[in-house]
């Protein structure tokens, strides 16, 4: 009866508007093994797991789990069927106790009123912790725990379901080495009991230490599955990254002149440490690194959203005092944030309003606002950037992602900045609009502006940047010139490895 595979996901396809997240992806996991799932940001790992859990329904494909075939899974029954998950984002119920969090939904009850047997609840939790050698008080409130402890509780919860398959999504993101060793002991224990573990991580050392097999995804496609013993770091990296770089990046040859912005040794407690870089007029500086490496934090800090604790910022060679974004704007900076819907656009407002709000002072006159001037300038921007909208009065939420992004770029252009920070400027945008935005960036550079571009898309980073700063876990891992930069080098620096240039 013993089937070879506990889990077999076959030819899964998942389409989202504008993006094919999973394109014919297959994954086969044997019981009693640790199966690592690897890939860059956006490769499809999380999406695949969400399909497995039943949070997403696949457009095509079949899931075979523990002998039964499913066309889709269901979030409520996946727990009872034997799949549990440690989520990447910790979502505890802060004001309830550890034990209450662990057993939420399956509290030990007596009788029909649903009376919770608290004694048993805490006893069971203590037993669970004892069996896993975890030292946390079951009666403590989650809000009082450190983040590392919260993650240990999360791990214990997933194991407590006695599931046949445990998915671990970045389980070591918040814990220290000692706890990682502890986690690996726990994983070994469950593996011996025949449990299968799908292990998702960016940390390559962990993959080689704990996994039996490795599956790599890239751009929503299945690249391959190999036993860990046959893998090397280089092989792994090239599987994750090896794509053809089609050169449709309209990078113009632009004269790069004086240093416009100099950032010296800035640090922000808990976010980044000792980061230095400079940007010249006409230059595009790429900021690469994995999620959580601190890139967004650095530029938001320089822009004044949360100023650094220490370090210096110099604009045109002179010290700049930036305590809030208003100051940054006065120094000629502009910032296109990472999540345009969250912190960029005023969704219920018109295109025109979205464009002018950073710079409303410009349009003040004696009676109020100079609407004529506003309309003229906005119209000019609309044409210059080719924003596809029926009119300036169109509500911005109705525009496509690419056009929304252009509206935001127009907003910053209207402030006539000298330094432009762009955080993931083409994320979630179709190919055509991407290329237009890149053309825009190049022409801005040509005008002598200094541009800092944070991007997680390798081709974009390599295609558009004059120089690339790579961040890793809050520190600057290295810097590469356009000539020196290759995908492999960037990824190695991003993973914390040394690189020979």
């Amino acid at each position: 009866m013993a089937e070879e595979f506990l889990l077999s996901m076959e030819h899964i396809r998942k389409q989202f508007p504008g993006v094919l997240a999973l394109d014919d992806v297959s994954l086969q996991v044997r019981p009693g093994t640790v199966h690592a799932l690897m890939g860059e940001n956006g490769a499809g790992k999380s999406t695949l797991m969400k399909v497995l859990l039943g949070i997403y329904v696949p457009d095509e494909g079949v899931i075979r789990f523990d002998g039964t075939e499913h066309e889709k899974m269901d979030i409520h029954s996946s727990l009872t069927h034997g799949i549990s998950m440690i989520h990447q984002e910790l979502t505890p119920i802060l004001h309830m106790t550890v034990a209450e969090n662990i057993f939420l939904g399956r509290e030990p009850v007596r009788g029909r009123t649903g009376w919770v047997n608290h004694k048993e609840l805490y006893q069971k939790t203590q037993e669970l912790f004892d069996s896993l050698s975890i030292n946390i008080d079951p009666k403590a409130k989650m809000v009082d725990l450190s983040i590392a402890s919260m993650q240990m509780v999360e791990i214990a919860t997933a194991i407590s379901y006695n599931s046949k398959l445990i998915i671990m999504d970045e389980p070591t993101s918040a814990i220290t080495e000692k706890e990682v060793a502890h986690l690996f002991r726990m994983i070994n224990d469950v593996r011996d009991k025949g449990v299968a573990v799908i292990y998702i991580t960016h940390k390559m050392d962990e993959v080689f230490e704990i996994s039996d097999e490795v599956t790599v995804l890239r751009d929503g496609r299945f690249v391959g599955t190999k036993p860990a013993s046959e893998m090397t770091k280089n092989k792994l990296i090239s599987m994750m990254v090896g794509r053809e770089l089609t050169n449709f990046f309209p990078k113009l040859d632009v004269p790069i002149t004086d240093v416009k912005l100099e950032v010296k040794n800035i640090s922000l407690e808990g976010k980044f440490k000792n980061v230095s870089f400079e940007v010249r007029k006409g230059e595009i500086l790429g900021f690469a690194g994995l999620m959580g490496s601190g890139r967004t934090e650095v530029i938001e800090s320089v822009f004044g959203i949360y100023p650094p604790d220490s370090g210096e910022i110099l604009v045109d060679g002179k010290a700049a005092k930036i305590g809030q974004p208003m100051d940054a704007i006065k120094y000629g900076m502009g910032l296109l944030t990472e999540d345009r819907k969250l912190s960029g656009l005023f969704l219920p407002l018109s295109v025109r309003d979205n464009m002018v709000y950073s710079n409303i002072d410009k349009y003040k006159n004696r009676f109020g606002l100079n609407y004529k001037l506003m309309e003229e300038e906005c119209e000019r921007q609309r044409q210059a950037l080719s924003v596809k909208t029926p009119s300036l009065a169109q509500i911005v939420v109705n525009l496509s992602g690419g056009n929304q992004q252009k509206v935001l770029i127009a907003r910053w252009l209207l402030t006539e900045p000298d330094i432009l920070f762009l955080d993931e400027p083409t994320r979630g945008i179709d190919v055509g609009a991407k290329s237009e935005i890149h053309k825009l960036m190049s022409s801005l550079a040509k005008m002598g502006k200094a541009i800092v571009m944070v991007s997680s898309e390798m081709p974009e980073v390599l295609g558009m940047s004059d120089r690339i700063v790579v961040m890793c876990e809050g520190e600057k891992a290295g810097e590469l010139t356009r000539e020196q930069a290759t995908q492999e080098r960037i990824l190695q620096l991003a993973a914390g490895e040394a690189v020979t240039v």
Binding site: I75, L94, M96, V109, V116, S146, K271, G292
Partner: protein, 350 residues
């Protein structure tokens, strides 16, 4: 919730070296946090007791007076117990006052002397109506995804209208004796200086039942879970929609009990009754430590919150202070309680 933020703050924890699994929290601070409101209440009582001393005897502390305070707080207190559940789930209920009026009138109609129906029937009709109204509130919130504020506001306004429609705008009186006993009767009458009014008994029973439900049952845990993190609760298999409906229905049930007590006490169902009761109930819960953000609150706190308002009103009455001042003070206490609550939770979070 971006991954970058979680991982960055995670690195902070790692950088600090994970010193100890639990953050230090001075035991003094947690003591105050848990019992603070009760201490404030005792302090208030002590103050008023002293201030109302006349001829060596504190008028405030006289049994009759204390029982009065309890009786007057009963109706609001019963409603407040129900609304506590709702606020803990992160919702709100503005319809309690109007429902007290509507349910009171319907119940009164059934309880009319002239029909000769048993009082229990009037009570059961009230309860059924309360549960129904609550369930409607809950369904609008959970299934139709209408914000609780709006859903219960709609109920508040229309229920009031229905009440006026049914009664033609006139009070429903001449109720049976046995029904009126529920609001005016007393038990354990050991002489003139000891008796327990029925409304107080009902308030006590409701508080105990609510406390039990909230702290000892799965129902209670799910209530906290929903308020703490609805998404997490959903992922753990809690039927969020169904639970919300139950919570609002329970509040409706308690509102109906309050309606019966009130109607019985004033011997008439009045379509204009209960004005502002919902706000008083919410205020009681909030003063008692229930957080409007959700996830936090206990019945004991709500009861103390109700009594704080009751004692304050009573104390100012005894001191001869105009009732307008009472209103101003009540408003200030509410603001004060929320400021304290906000500070408490801002300070505690990392």
């Amino acid at each position: 919730m971006s991954t970058e933020n979680t991982t960055a703050s995670a690195e902070a924890a790692a950088a600090q070296g994970a010193q100890g699994a639990i953050k230090e929290r001075s035991s003094f601070r947690s003591f105050i946090s848990k019992y603070g409101i009760f201490l404030i209440f005792l302090g208030m009582c002590a103050l008023i007791a002293v201030v109302t001393i006349d001829n060596g005897v504190s008028i405030f502390l006289k049994y009759r007076n204390i029982v009065n305070v309890l009786r007057q707080s009963s109706v609001i207190g019963i409603i407040a117990c129900g609304v506590t559940f709702i606020i803990i789930t992160g919702g709100i209920d503005l319809s309690s006052g109007s429902l007290v009026a509507l349910i009171g009138c319907v119940s009164a109609i059934v309880a009319r002397e002239v029909y000769g129906l048993p009082w229990i029937l009037a009570v059961l009709v009230a309860m059924a109506l309360g549960i129904l109204a609550g369930a409607i509130n809950g369904t609008l919130t959970a299934k139709a995804h209408i914000p609780p504020f709006i859903a219960t506001l709609g109920m508040m306004v229309s229920a009031r209208g229905v009440g006026f429609l049914i009664t033609g705008g006139r009070p429903v009186d001449n109720l049976s004796e046995s029904y009126q006993f529920l609001g005016q009767g007393t038990i354990l009458n050991w002489g003139e200086n000891f008796f327990v009014p029925i409304p107080v008994l009902i308030f006590l029973a409701v508080a105990l039942l609510s406390h039990y439900l909230l702290s000892q049952t799965r129902f209670g845990k799910y209530t906290y879970a929903l308020g703490g993190n609805e998404q997490a609760a959903y992922i753990c298999g809690v039927n969020v929609d169904r639970h919300k409906i139950f919570v609002y229905a329970y509040a409706g049930f308690l509102t109906s009990i309050a309606a019966v007590v009130l109607t019985a006490r004033v011997s008439a169902g009045q379509p204009s009754a209960g004005i502002m009761y919902e706000l008083d109930a919410i205020a009681s819960a909030v003063i008692g430590g229930t957080s409007l953000q959700g996830g936090i609150g206990v019945i004991g706190g709500t009861v103390v919150g109700t009594l704080i308002i009751g004692v304050m009103n009573n104390g100012l009455d005894l001191m001869g202070v105009s009732s307008y001042w009472q209103q101003i003070l009540k408003g200030l206490i509410i603001i004060g309680a929320v400021i304290i609550d906000t500070m408490r939770h801002r300070g505690g979070k990392s």
